[in-house]
């Protein structure tokens, strides 16, 4: 089994028994999913399942084929054709032209090679055992297996497959040797090359460095299984995609795609004011700057800071998470979805409890709860009468609310840009 590809605009994903050419961005989650499947030996139907998982409209073109032990199939959608060439030179073209969904076709035991032809392919044919590359065409030569199959059927010695089908096809009549050209693929600059440069002497100025002697017998046995070898210098695998490189499992990498939403507790539905501040879905004026908020469809965003607590000491606590305040506070006293700020308040008279009061964030709401303090907590809303909190009964507070834990010790809830 030999696989070669020509550089192009689509993405090829190849594994030990399945091959895919798809119209997708190289960093699309779809490609990552297919690579995970292909490299672990999944069959073509599993890949097909992954390809259409987001609906047919999400992927406008692909060709996927699998072939093992003399049987397989090919599935084609959109602007790509697959040519199946039998050992006797018979060609069969699988195309989905005019089809709304896809076309599938069985592959038989006499298969010699498969050619995937996308809309654009140029440059030399390059070998690829297993990996993800920008490609426009793909060729799979099923040579050795075919020779074996045919040898059982006939006593006549079989010519090498490459000679048997020595007609003018996409990749030329001469499968090897492969012309090796340096860096032939016009992929975007590689921001995080993962391959290692020549050994760099580690700077000697790092203090207290503990340099263990190498212990290769330990290191070697614990290395993860490498992927099938890709000839060095021939295949330009898309190494800047974090998941595309399987031979360096320990390297820390930046994610190739943009930021994702943080875990669910920190996501809110929001709309923007004219100045761009995020606001609750039903806000009419901006909570930060007071400007108008035009009608719009709310979207999910990471929850912005809901404001600050301005302590009587002058210190500010960002409301990007909850807050626990007390004389000797212990996070075990509260149950918050995200680890809160923990603020120790000085209490010259000792009248602040160890765990006195907590501020919780719930969606866009800011809630305050007394934690069963000895001397209680007083809430002073901006335009209303002060009241005592009932222990462990959270109360929503509005900007401008003053919360007092003791004489001259407390905080104001403020919303700032």
């Amino acid at each position: 089994m030999e696989v070669r590809y020509r550089p192009g605009q689509w993405v090829a994903v190849t594994g030990p028994r399945t091959w895919l050419l798809v119209a997708a961005a190289a960093d699309a989650p779809l490609v990552a999913r297919c690579w995970q499947l292909a490299r672990t030996g999944a069959d073509e139907l599993e890949l097909l399942n992954a390809l259409v998982a987001e609906g047919l409209r999400a992927v406008r073109g692909f060709a996927v084929a699998g072939y093992a032990d003399g049987v397989g199939q090919v599935v084609v959608r959109g602007e790509v054709t697959v040519t199946a060439v039998d050992a006797d030179g018979t060609e069969r073209v699988v195309t989905a032209e005019g089809m709304a969904t896809w076309v599938e076709s069985r592959l038989t035991g006499s298969l010699a090679r498969l050619l995937f032809t996308g809309p654009v392919a140029d440059g030399p044919a390059l070998p690829l055992d297993s990996g993800v590359v920008h490609a426009g065409a793909l060729e799979i030569i099923v040579g050795q297996r075919l020779a074996g199959v045919r040898a059982e059927q006939a006593d006549t010695p079989i010519e090498p497959v490459s000679d048997a089908v020595a007609h003018d096809h996409l990749f030329g009549a001469e499968p090897d040797p492969i012309p090796i050209e340096p860096d032939p693929i016009p992929v975007e600059p590689d921001p995080i090359p993962v391959e290692k440069p020549a050994p760099i002497p580690v700077s000697a100025d790092k203090p207290a460095e503990s340099r263990s002697e190498p212990a290769p017998e330990i290191g070697n046995t614990t290395l993860l299984t490498p992927v099938p070898a890709i000839p060095e210098g021939t295949t330009n695998v898309i190494t800047h995609l974090a998941w595309a490189v399987a031979d360096d499992p320990g390297a820390t990498r930046m994610r190739a795609t943009g930021p994702s939403a943080p875990p669910t507790p920190m996501v809110v539905l929001a709309i923007r004011c004219e100045s761009g501040h995020w606001n609750p879905p039903h806000a009419l004026s901006c909570r930060v700057c007071g400007s108008g908020v035009p009608p719009q469809q709310p979207i999910e965003v990471p929850r912005p800071s809901l404001g600050v607590l301005r302590l009587t000491t002058g210190d500010l606590v960002q409301l990007d998470r909850g807050v626990l305040l007390g004389r000797q506070p212990d996070t075990a006293a509260v149950d918050q979805p995200v680890r809160p700020h923990v603020v120790r308040l000085r209490s010259p008279l000792g009248d602040i409890s160890r765990n006195h009061v907590e501020v919780r964030l719930h969606g866009w709401q800011v809630l305050v709860a007394d934690l069963g303090s000895r001397n209680g907590t007083v809430v002073c809303p901006p335009a209303d009468l002060p009241f005592d909190l009932v222990a462990r009964q959270p109360v929503e507070i509005q900007p401008g609310t003053v919360v007092n834990l003791a004489t001259d010790i407390g905080f104001v809830f403020e919303v700032t840009g």
Partner: protein, 271 residues
């Protein structure tokens, strides 16, 4: 600017390239008030440049007067710009990045507090008594900014699955990002007897929590603890660079503050 109560802090650090990598792209910093680890990313040793810039920048914190938690946040965001600017000047460093994780001592609400900060998948652990007196437990204070960390936090992946997931090394926030990452940052009061461990993922990739806690328990001196942890991670495989900083808050200054040391909250005098 000394912080109130003058806490006594002792710290030690160790780093090792490991058995597989050719370069050590981790860096760390220990100053009077900043303790941090940075795990660099990027080929051709650019990762070492990025993590070096990060720790050198952090060392500046506290050299110009009182530090507030928001100063730490602004400082980290500024470091992101510094790393981008350096990469723009040197094409071979394009795309370099680094995690940065650690502790900064600040004076807050009239007493010393830690600011625990994190961008990326390096970690801060606290090793101290929690619910049971006399029993020290290890708890991770930071939340990993990694794909699996987010999936675990969202309940879509168990921690056991996360440990072997191929995406476990993909960080979702790093310094050197085109859009400045939002640092995770929270304040935390100092308590005598607490030990903190700041480490790159080369440690936690090789040693589980029980092994880490065992070594933190065994080694009294923070320098020994840091070195022992690194040695153990290298012996366990050393597949990545390993860096540790161990920070001990040794004992409270007896004259610290004017907070009553007793356990009772005084009833308020009315009138």
């Amino acid at each position: 600017m000394p912080v109130a109560g003058e806490p006594r802090i002792r710290a030690g650090a160790a780093t090792d390239v490991g058995l597989v990598r050719v370069a050590n792209e981790d860096n760390y910093v220990i100053t009077a008030s900043v303790f941090a680890v940075a795990d660099g990313m990027g080929g051709h040793a650019a990762g070492d440049v990025a993590s070096g810039l990060a720790v050198a920048g952090l060392a500046q914190l506290g050299t110009e007067g009182t530090v507030r938690p928001d100063d730490v946040r602004r400082h980290i965001v500024r470091l992101n710009g510094d790393i981008l600017a350096a990469a723009a000047r040197n094409p071979e460093q394009a795309g370099m990045g680094t995690t940065v994780t650690g502790l900064c001592l600040v004076d807050f609400a009239g007493s010393p507090h830690w600011v625990v900060f994190n961008v990326g998948d390096s970690r801060v652990y606290r090793y101290a008594e929690k619910d049971v007196p006399g029993v020290r437990v290890l708890e991770q204070l930071t939340v990993d900014h990694s794909e699996v960390g987010e999936l675990v936090a969202a309940g879509k992946l168990s921690p056991a699955e996360a440990a072997v997931d191929p995406r476990r090394n993909v960080v979702t926030r790093a310094l050197g990002s085109p859009a400045a990452p939002e640092p995770d940052l929270f304040v935390y009061p100092l308590t005598a007897g607490e030990r903190f461990l700041i480490c790159s993922d080369g440690l936690t990739g090789e040693l589980d929590d029980a092994a880490i806690a065992g070594l933190l328990d065994r080694e009294e001196d923070p320098r020994d603890a840091a070195a022992t942890l690194v040695r153990a991670a290298v012996a366990a495989g050393g597949r990545d660079n390993v860096t540790t900083v161990v920070v001990d808050h040794v004992a409270a200054d007896p004259g610290a503050g004017d907070t009553p040391a007793d356990d009772e909250t005084a009833p308020r005098q009315v009138g």
